[in-house]
Structure formats: C-alpha cells, structure tokens
C-alpha cells in the first residue's frame, strides 16, 4: 500500500500537474484560435531549456528563474504567432494546423541546434525525501512542483474570472464574430492567449525538467498526453483541461501498478501508449470530453 503511494500515486500527481498546465495552453488556443497547435509540446521543451540556461548562467534555483523563463518563452511564442500564424489567420484553420506541424519540427531542430540532443537536468545527485509516518516518502521537489502548479492554475482562474482580458477571452471562445461586434480587440485577446499559453507551457516544461530531466524529444512525448488531457476535459474548457491533465497523469502512472496479481496491468513499454489510446477512444466516442466541451465543426 505504502509502495503504491510512494511509487505510483505521488508521481502520478506530479505528472498530472505538468500535463494540466500544458493542457490549459492547448485548450485555450484551440478554444480561441480554433486550431490544434502541434507546436505546443515543443514550447514546453523550449521553456525548460531557457530556464536551464538561465539557471546555469545565474546559479539560481530553477524556481527563481521560472518567471524569467516564462516571460521569454511567452515572448518567443508571440513571435512565432506574428511570423507564422497571423499571416494565415484569414485562411482555413487546417492550414494553421499544417503550419503548426511544421513549426513543431522547426522549434525542435532549433532547440537541438542550440542545446544539443543530450539529456540535461537542473540538479545533480539524488534528493533525500522527507519520511512521514515511518514509511511514506515525500520528495520536497514534488511538493514544490504540485504547489506551484496549483498556484499557477489559480492565477489562470483569477485571470479568466476577475479581469477584463479574461472576460474578453471567454467571450471570444464562445463566439469570435460576436466578440468582434461588441468591440473586443480580438488581436489583443489572441496575444493574451499566446502569452498565457506560452508561460504555462514553459512552467510545465521546467517542472518536468526539475523532477526528471529535459531532452529535445520531450515536447513530442508530451504533446499527445496533453491533447488527450485537453480532449478529456472538453476543448476550450480550462478547468476541464486541468482535471483532464491530472486524470491522464494518474492513469499513466497507475496503469503499471500490479492491480491484479503481481504483474503490471499494462506492460511498462506501453505506458506512454495509454494516453494515446484514451485520446483515440475519446475522439471517437465522446469528442465533447467528459466535461461537455465544444466540438467545433469546420
């Protein structure tokens, strides 16, 4: 039982909060710009590598450089939007998907060009866990990651509910034409969306890199679980995406637990396939997600 908590449930929560942060960004861009951004996973890698460089340059703690990494990544994402997505905005959304597919490869190769393809991590050595109740082992970094993720999600919640910008974002997600008619500056809403999405993606990348390590292929490995989380929560629903991320993270970790007998239910080799399978099943059976999101028709 204690093994279950230590090796399956807690890592599941940590992975889940990383997925949740990524999924919020995907679901916001899907809801407001109406296209699936394939480059989002690479944004997470980019954020993690920027933070890595900042941390090794300044010698600060990863969490201390996090705000700067988030800002730089958000700026990079806004730049990508200006260069590659805005010129295509009047075209069919599927052209944007192709463009984001190309951008995914571009960002990845740029990351490999600058930082190389090797594994990197923030901290060397093994962290000593806190031991609670004699056997429950909790790593301080896991607590920090989950707390910071919850803090960021609260910030997104406040932005969406309490500010004019958030209200405009929700209005545009509901109906872009109506939003434009009521005088909302849609380009500004799009800018806010990219900043929020890019910042959260960077945070998610940094958290994952802080927990384990970062490498140039990370973004693609994260992309499908994040799409799965966004779909599970219902496209265009930030709270759904948060819940979806947590669910996908937990399922991925718990799927290898020996629930029946002593064998893992799913062979560890197929662990990453779980999220894809959930996603494909969801797309086919319930594209509106568990939280009744929207299904955009072309």
């Amino acid at each position: 039982m204690i093994e279950f908590l230590n090796f399956y449930l807690i890592p599941g929560f940590v992975l889940g909060s990383v997925y949740a942060l990524g999924a919020v960004g995907v679901t916001l861009t899907f809801g407001i710009l109406r296209f699936a951004n394939f480059a989002h996973g690479e944004t997470m890698t980019l954020g993690a590598f920027i933070a890595l460089s900042l941390a090794s340059f300044s010698g600060w703690h990863p969490f201390a450089v996090l705000p700067f990494a988030m800002a730089l990544t958000a700026a990079a994402v806004v730049g990508m939007d200006r260069l590659f997505f805005r010129p295509l905005r009047h075209r069919s959304t599927i052209i944007l998907v192709i463009s984001s597919f190309g951008l995914m490869l571009m960002v990845r190769s740029l990351v490999q060009l600058i930082w190389g393809a090797k594994l990197r991590s923030f901290t060397q050595g093994i962290e000593i866990p806190w031991v609670l109740f004699d056997s429950l082992r909790v790593f301080p970094k896991h607590v920090a990651i989950v707390c910071a993720a919850i803090g960021l999600m609260l910030a997104v919640h406040l932005l969406l509910v309490r500010t004019r910008a958030g209200k405009a974002m929700r209005a545009m997600a509901d109906s872009p034409d109506l939003a434009r008619l009521t005088g909302i500056n849609t380009e500004r809403v799009i800018l806010t969306t990219w900043i929020v999405g890019g910042g959260l993606a960077a945070a998610a990348g940094v958290f994952l890199a802080y927990d384990t390590h970062v490498e140039s292929q990370l973004g693609f490995k994260l992309l499908l679980p994040i799409f799965a989380a966004a779909l599970l929560g219902g496209i265009g629903r930030p709270y759904g995406a948060m819940a979806g991320g947590l669910v996908i993270g937990l399922i991925e970790e718990l799927s290898t637990y020996p629930w029946i007998g002593s064998e893992a239910v799913v062979s560890p080799g197929y662990k990453t396939g779980i999220a894809f399978a959930i996603m494909v099943v969801l797309l086919i059976w319930r594209p509106s997600g568990l939280f009744r999101g929207r299904v955009f028709q072309s």
């Binding site: 899907f30 894809f276 797309l283």
Partner: protein
C-alpha cells in the same frame, strides 16, 4: 572514372528513393488533396507496409516473425493488403472527425503502432529491426540491378499517375472534390459521404503501404529509426504542399524536388567535420520547415495548382463555389 561510377550509382539510388517518396506523396494526395482528410500518421502506414513485406519475404530467423521467403512481389501485395486493412479500421473509427481531430487521432494511432513495433520483439526484432530483406533484380550484375530497381519504381509511379488521373477525372473523383468543398451539399445530393471517405482513406493507406514495402526492399533493411515517425510524415506533407495538393503531377514533382534538396543537403553535411555535421542535420530540418511556412504563406497552391474540372454545363466549378475554405 571510378569516382564518376560511384556518383552514378549514388544518383540512381537517390532517384529510386525519390520515386518511393512520390508513391507516398501520391497516397497522401488521395487523402488530403482529393478528399481533405488530414492524415498525420503517414509514417504508421509506411511502417505497416515495410514490416509486412519484411516478415513475408525474409528467410526464417529466430529473431523475428516470418520465414516464408516469398518473392518481393508477394510481399508488396501483402503490404498493400495489410495497410489497406489497417486504413479501413482507422477509417471506420475516425473518418467522421473534423480535420484537426483526425490529425490528432491518426498521429496517436501511428504512435501506438510504433510502440507495438518496438515492444513486440518476437515479431519485429524490436529496435534492432529486420535485415537481409531480398531486393528485386538482386541477381543482376552491379549497375544493372540498381537501374532495374529504379525503372521498377519509375514504372510504379507512372502507372499510379495514369490511374489516379483517370480516377480524378471520373465521376468518383468529382464526388470526392464535392465532399471536400461542401460536405453538406454532397450529402444533400445523396452521396454516402462516410463510405466514400473511407474508400479514399483506404486507397491512400494502400499506396503508403506500397511505398513502405518498396523502401524496405530498396534498402534491404527496416528498423524503427529508419522511418523516424515525425520526420517521415513531415517530409511527405512538405512534398505535397510544395508540389501542390490535389494535383498528381504536383505530388510527384514535389516529392522528387524536396527529396533532391534533402539529399543534396545530406551530401553537403557529410563533407563537414563531425561536430558541425550534427548541427547541420538539425539546421536542415529547420530550413525545410521554413520552406513549408514560406510556401503556405506566399504560394498556397504549391507549384502546380489544382486543375479544376470543366464540363459543358458548368464552365468552371470555381465560379460556382462562393469560397474555397477547405484548402
């Protein structure tokens, strides 16, 4: 002279590869160009074709499934049948999805497939791959076997081109364009949209399987890394977008052009010192991505525009359709 001969052989090898990419691009053109189905899992169908023919045609081995030792022709047919069956299954499940969702679903399915190929070591020899796949015309003398393989691939591309042109100008092709341009209208005209889309998806999948099988026979070896999923899919997409979707000639020209640029860069890269070579390989992908963005923004039709069908009663479809939203 020796060197010239080497260059000649290498050129023949590269042209053969370009022809195989043309088969893949023609396959994607049926799905995306004609029908508007966004398949982001090209590499998956490619892998099915390659592994099927590898298993069917290789000699018995303890490392992987197979040992039938059938001739390559049988392997190619088996590959097309296998990829058609998978395409049918995927199509049955996913064909109703909107383009974005279809892209995500096909990418997910291709990834699951890659995991299967990686983990089911008893059948596929896992990451080490299957080697000693027989190559057609292997018994011929040195330059002729390569030339014969090239001619075979060129013949395959030519036959496919003629067939697909006929299909495209047939009533069936017109229905496909109608579905792509205005699904509701096609449905209202009594067309079975789902069934037609599945047929197009299967045809495209079969061609991708054919491409995979030809590639396996050409390089005599198949492993997971050989078809790095995203790069392979991405390259085929770039080929189609650059050449011009919904135009078979565009698909072929795009494939050969991009493949030539891609391998010319490869030759340049191998001349560099090792530490630069790695970086240049990344830069190459970046530049191909940039080229795609450039074409998307400046030349949305690609090199060859889609040729609109003309009939007596309606001078041009374009004039009748209020907008071209789909592509």
């Amino acid at each position: 002279m020796e060197q010239l001969y080497g260059i000649f052989l290498y050129t023949v090898f590269l042209l053969t590869m370009g022809g195989i990419y043309a088969v893949l691009t023609l396959g994607l053109n049926i799905q995306w160009g004609f029908t508007g189905l966004f398949n982001a899992g090209v590499a998956g169908f490619f892998a099915i074709g390659a592994y099927t023919t590898a298993i069917v045609t290789t000699a018995a081995s303890e490392r992987h499934l197979g040992g039938l030792g059938l001739p390559p022709a049988a392997g190619i047919v088996a590959a097309m049948v296998a990829s058609s069956i998978i395409a049918w299954g995927v199509g049955r499940m996913c064909i109703r999805l909107r383009a974005d969702y279809l892209a995500i679903a096909t990418l997910g399915i291709a990834e699951i497939l890659r995991l299967v190929l990686k983990n089911e070591v008893w059948a596929t020899n896992g990451p080490r791959g299957i080697s000693v796949i027989p190559k057609p015309f292997e018994h011929l003398a040195e330059p002729w076997n390569q030339i014969a393989m090239l001619l075979l691939v060129v013949a395959v591309v030519a036959v496919l081109y003629v067939l697909l042109e006929r299909v495209w100008h047939s009533p069936w092709g017109r229905v496909m364009a109608a579905i792509r341009e205005n699904e509701a209208a096609a449905r209202a005209a009594g067309k079975d949209v789902e069934r037609l889309r599945i047929v197009a998806f299967i045809l495209g999948g079969a061609l991708m399987g054919l491409g995979g099988a030809l590639m396996a026979h050409h390089i005599k070896f198949i492993e997971l890394q050989a078809a790095e999923p995203i790069t392979a899919t991405f390259l085929v997409w770039v080929m189609l977008v650059v050449g011009g979707s919904a135009n078979n000639r565009g698909a072929i020209v795009g494939a050969v052009l991009i493949w030539t640029l891609w391998s010319a860069a490869e030759i340049l890269i191998t001349g560099l010192p090792p530490e630069w070579a790695v970086k240049a390989a990344y830069l190459r992908i970046f530049l191909v991505g940039l080229a795609l963005q450039f074409i998307l923004q400046r030349f949305p039709d690609g090199i060859f525009r889609e040729r609109r069908l003309r009939t007596v009663s309606s001078p041009s479809i374009k004039e009748h359709s209020p907008c071209r939203k789909c592509c």
